[in-house]
């Protein structure tokens, strides 16, 4: 046997403070009412830091700072000069990427392999990409002189804390807006380190403000009258509430919500690579991915073969310490999320689907869930309809391409889909019919700053990334 010795990434690169304030108008400040909460390491339940909780008075201060920066500095600044700041931020992110990656894994629970090789390179790439747009907005296809909107309120989730920050802040700043961003309450730390990077880059005060807190902070922020634009990534329920609250106001809204993506494997697919794609589709980031391929639709005549290969491959997944460089699947982000995954998985078993996980030892402390697949799932099962947001795959079969399309689309969501076949014409035929914002062919969970991302139906509206991602931050 070839046992890999522990290969832990060092924590010493991260300089954690015992407590963090709010980042308003270029400075870290205490919250007006002194509230705070703790951010923990989900792999060990160790407290990482005490985090300030922003109240309505803090929201007021932050929005005012953002407005002032918009009116006096950032709005009037030439695109060329805005680009300089964004390029500077992008370079600093690259320089400090190891520190950011370790901190992300500590706070979120995702494996260091992913924060190092996926999250951080994409974060830097987003800033570089949108820096390039800052002085070229008149060529973006939105008219001769597209104008920024003003102050953007941005609320992001805990699954890709820094990457979602980049998706929100980079296009907003490139287009000339200022922002008040609220990171998720379980993963605020990299956003706070990003605030330090803004200071290091000498970004003018008030252009970026970071307010930490939970749902109440987020609600106060998006409902604030001084906000011109709301961008939210998170659950469909909260997205609905936000849509209601901004209805009838002048605020522009983009939402990126849940998903229940179909990953469709045809009998002529490159099986070994399809299995990799299935694994990457659902076990990447512990399945905490809105576009996760959580429903495997496999053609019935190859289902046995594919499942056998999939199980063999799943047995190779290394679940454990997120900071070990050989870990494939890390910790579930929070006790609440673990509870939700357990509840839906139990429902899967209770409704008669067959549950399988490879043998794997889970740590005693922290929040863990073994990679799991359910076979014999039908469209009527809850695990085929509801977003689990965890490492749980529901396997369904189909007979014909038309049936695959029908099943794939038979969901209130429509964020992403995957197609696995050797036949190019079938890829195009399927992509035309799948009601999903992103369709991957013979790959899955691929992201690039040049490529727009967003949903159909209850997966939200508006696009992030690419030229399209500018539209949500411009008056067009």
């Amino acid at each position: 046997m070839f046992e890999y010795a522990p290969a832990p990434e060092s924590r010493s690169v991260v300089d954690l403070k015992p407590s963090y304030g709010l980042f308003i108008d270029g400075k870290f400040v205490d919250p007006a009412d002194g509230g705070s909460f703790k951010s923990i390491n989900p792999a060990s339940e160790e407290v990482l830091a005490e985090i300030a909780e922003a109240g309505s008075e803090d929201v007021e201060r932050a929005v005012r700072a953002a407005r002032k920066a918009y009116d006096k500095v950032w709005g009037p600044m030439s695109g060329r000069d805005r680009a300089k700041y964004l390029y500077r931020i992008a370079r600093l992110i690259q320089e400090r990427s190891r520190e950011l990656a370790v901190l992300e894994s500590l706070d979120n629970g995702k494996p260091i392999r992913e924060s190092r090789d996926v999250d951080l390179p994409l974060v830097a790439a987003h800033f570089f990409y949108y820096a390039g747009w800052a002085d070229k907005l008149e060529h973006a296809g939105f008219g001769p002189r597209p104008q920024p909107i003003g102050v953007a309120a941005q609320v992001i989730p805990w699954n890709f804390p820094l990457l979602m920050l980049a998706w929100k802040i980079a296009p907003a700043l490139a287009a000339g807006n200022t922002v008040v961003l609220k990171p998720a309450e379980t993963t605020p730390l990299t956003a706070l380190l990003f605030a330090e990077i803004c200071q290091q880059a000498e970004l003018p005060a008030g252009v970026v403000n970071i307010l930490t807190g939970a749902g109440d902070t987020g609600r106060a922020l998006v409902e604030h009258a001084g906000v011109d634009k709301v961008a939210f990534t998170g659950s469909t329920d909260v997205g609905r509430a936000i849509a209601r609250s901004v209805a009838g106001t002048r605020k522009k809204l983009t939402l990126e919500l849940g998903g229940k993506a179909a990953n469709i494997v045809f009998d002529d697919a490159p099986i070994d690579q399809a299995v990799e794609g299935i694994v990457n589709g659902i076990f990447f980031n512990q399945g905490h991915v809105c576009c996760a391929g959580s429903r495997l639709l496999v053609q019935e005549n190859v289902a046995d073969r594919v499942l056998e290969s999939l199980k063999r491959r799943m047995a190779q997944l290394r679940v454990g310490d997120p900071l070990d460089k050989n870990t494939d699947v890390g910790a579930i982000n929070s006790a609440a999320q673990l509870e939700r995954i357990r509840e839906l998985s139990d429902a899967g078993s209770a409704e008669g689907a067959e549950r399988w996980s490879p043998p794997c030892d889970l740590p005693d402390r922290g929040f863990w869930f073994a990679p799991t697949i359910f076979t014999g799932v039908t469209q009527a099962h809850r695990i085929a309809r509801e977003e689990i947001f965890g490492p749980v795959l529901s396997v369904l079969t189909f007979r014909t391409p038309a049936e695959a399309v029908e099943k794939a689309n038979n969901t209130p969501y429509g964020l992403s889909a995957g197609i696995w076949t050797d036949k190019g014409s079938r890829i195009l035929w399927m992509a035309d019919r799948l009601r999903a914002g992103v369709v991957w062919a013979n790959t899955f969970n691929k992201f690039d700053p040049t490529s727009p991302f967003g949903g159909f139906k209850e997966s939200g509206y508006g696009r992030e990334g690419g030229r399209h991602g500018l539209e949500g931050y411009l008056n067009v």
Partner: protein, 319 residues
């Protein structure tokens, strides 16, 4: 992989009888997605193998080396020295294992045999008009018989790439069968020369063809064309031996050759073996490295791990 699961063992042995059956079977194998295969190989390369795992991997890699010299300038003196090194790679450390085999041209086999006699190190000879294979079949078979008669217990043959690329699969198959027969008890390694096959689909088909025809090992390259062993090519071949054993019950070995020069590279391959086909192949009987300069790097890393300091290249023998 419908073709393999539905075929029983007896069906596969019949395939070589007809060109049509072979073609249907080989072209019915699932395709390989190039991007996906390369991505998987790259992902496996990011594994971090440290301390005890590294020590274990280095010793295993040394035992898997086919210490090779295949030059026009090879002489009895040169190959004797190489064989001596194969037996005792690190004269300063008796705990260092011997390598898997010595690999030379047929004319050099007798000299190596003298040195290796009585040892557990195997003696491999390339044959069949290596490296091009562009000679009449009779000559290729005579080449093989001569190598075995001189003492080789492993034969590294080359497939007829010209016939393969022209779609004459049966011709390739028949040559392998004939070479296997000419090899007698010697183990037959079948060199696919993947750098000339170019696509992963071809690599998968050639792998199956070689296994169906009775090859004991499938080997990537001669080391004589610009593209030698790569991680994704070896990945596709490992998947092939895994699926072949599942379909037939017979285990076939894999040997990447050419271009693997560092301990880091060798460990990446071992990780790939471990996570693709599992521990059954983590043995010199089932996995080999065709290499020459790799051995000294393994020895240097081994010394570093045991002593804590790097020794200069002067402390390791150049043979």
């Amino acid at each position: 992989m419908t073709a393999t699961t539905t075929s029983a063992r007896s069906d596969l042995s019949e395939l070589g009888r007809s060109e049509t059956a072979l073609r249907t079977f080989l072209h019915g194998l699932p395709g390989v997605d190039q991007v996906g295969a390369e991505q998987r190989a790259a992902q496996l390369s990011t594994r971090s193998i440290k301390t005890t795992a590294k020590a274990q991997a280095i010793d295993l890699a040394i035992r898997m080396v086919d210490l090779t010299t295949l030059e026009g300038a090879d002489t009895p003196g040169k190959v004797r020295a190489l064989a001596a090194k194969a037996l005792r790679p690190d004269p300063a450390d008796p705990s260092c294992p011997h390598v898997g085999a010595v690999c030379v041209y047929p004319a050099m086999v007798p000299y190596v045999a003298e040195v290796l006699r009585g040892s557990a190190v195997h003696l491999a000879s390339v044959a069949t008009a290596f490296p091009s294979g562009q000679a009449p079949l009779e000559i290729k078979l005579a080449d093989t018989r001569a190598a075995v008669a001189a003492g080789a217990d492993e034969i590294d043959m080359v497939i007829n790439r010209g016939a393969f690329l022209a779609g004459r699969y049966k011709e390739v198959y028949d040559e392998i069968v004939a070479t296997k027969e000419a090899s007698g008890d010697a183990h037959l390694k079948v060199i696919l020369e993947t750098g000339e096959l170019a696509t992963y689909d071809n690599v998968r088909r050639a792998s199956w063809l070689a296994m169906l025809a009775g090859g004991d090992f499938i080997k990537t390259s001669t080391g004589k064309v610009p593209v030698a062993a790569t991680m994704p090519v070896t990945l596709v071949m490992l998947e092939a031996v895994r699926d072949f054993r599942e379909a037939t019950g017979r285990q076939v070995g894999v040997k990447p050759a050419g271009g693997i020069k560092t301990t880091k590279d060798a460990i990446k391959y071992l990780v790939m073996v471990n996570e693709t086909v599992g521990p059954d192949w983590l043995d010199p009987d089932w996995f080999r490295f065709g290499a020459s300069s790799l051995l000294n790097d393994l020895l240097m890393q081994r010394t570093k791990l045991t002593t804590g300091t790097y020794s200069g290249p002067d402390y390791f023998t150049l043979d």
